[in-house]
Amino acid sequence: MNVWIAIGVTALGCYAVKLAGLLVPAGALERPLVRRLAALLPVALLAALTAQQTFADGHALVLDARAAGLGAAAVALVLRAPFLVVVAAAVVVTAGVRAVAG
């Protein structure tokens, strides 16, 4: 049930912000400060989420195969690999490290 509540709230919220952008008059969100904040907000969230989903195990911080996988993704990004290759690199390396480590 909790999952359905989360899905419902997220769906409503995400649809509302999409629609808001199309409906509000241009001037309302065009202030430079608001624009810069809106550009930086995803940076903060994505950085925090990347780190958490790599190093978190519940409330504990761990260094496991996922870190190696993310390292591989980072290398792929530096080499300008396509999106799917980046994700695949992370998955394959993580699985490989786990298989080797048992």
Binding site: L19, L40, L45, Q53, A60, A90
Partner: protein, 222 residues
């Protein structure tokens, strides 16, 4: 986004969501980063509202896409509620690249329809596939989520301001993980954006005021 719907379906199923729940997310939310964030937060044991809040804040950028698109496409008001669901990174990028309004409208519609179909179909396949293979962690599929986030983040890290925001957010998000309820540290980490913006704003002011000769010294930061 296209094919990474498969990665989302797998990650979502691996996070404990049913096939129906995974598909409902792709049909109703249809903005990739928010969906990954939500299933990640739910898997970590976050309550539905903090989990949804993180996903919502990631979706806020779509409002700014909508703003640019509404000027560009000039859609009739009655059409906007239907077009809204397709206001995402890719449709915006395609529309903005078109030379005329007519081309932009066609580009928006074609990209919107094809990505919506592809994203939902691949989500279904990914979720079904994950149920087949059982323990998705053995296959390293729990690394798909963070890799997607990193791939979305990397092109955004253009200047020192963005890098500072990312670094502070990592410190807050990871540092607060052991002490705050699941899902909350990400919301606190979002504060890195206004904090860094405030600090750089103060610095720019100080550089401009007082010492006239120093003006424009920090021009490197957009």
């Amino acid at each position: 986004m296209g094919l990474s719907g498969f990665a989302f379906g797998v990650t979502s199923a691996g996070s404990g969501l049913t096939v129906w729940q995974s598909c409902a997310l792709s049909l109703l939310v249809f903005t990739g980063a928010s969906q990954f964030a939500l299933v990640g937060a739910l898997a970590a044991g976050g309550n539905p509202f903090t989990a949804a809040a993180g996903a919502f804040f990631l979706g806020v950028r779509n409002a700014f896409y909508g703003l640019r698109l509404s000027q560009l496409l000039a859609l009739p008001r009655a059409v906007r509620p239907f077009a809204a669901q397709w206001v995402i990174d890719e449709t915006t990028a395609v529309s903005l690249a078109q030379p005329t309004r007519r081309n932009a409208r066609v580009g928006f519609a074609v990209t919107g329809v094809s990505l919506y179909l592809l994203w939902n179909l691949t989500t279904l396949l990914g979720a079904l596939g994950a149920e087949r293979i059982g323990d998705t962690d053995t296959w390293g599929l729990d690394a798909a989520g963070p890799a997607v986030f990193l791939a979305l983040l990397a092109p955004m890290l253009k200047t020192t301001t963005e890098r500072a925001v990312a670094a502070l957010a990592v410190v807050l998000g990871v540092g607060l993980l052991p002490v705050l309820p699941a899902g909350v540290p990400v919301l606190v980490a979002a504060l890195a954006a206004p904090v860094v913006l405030y600090v750089t704003g103060r610095r720019e002011q100080r550089a401009q005021g007082g010492r006239g000769g120093q003006r424009g010294a920090r021009g490197g930061e957009r």
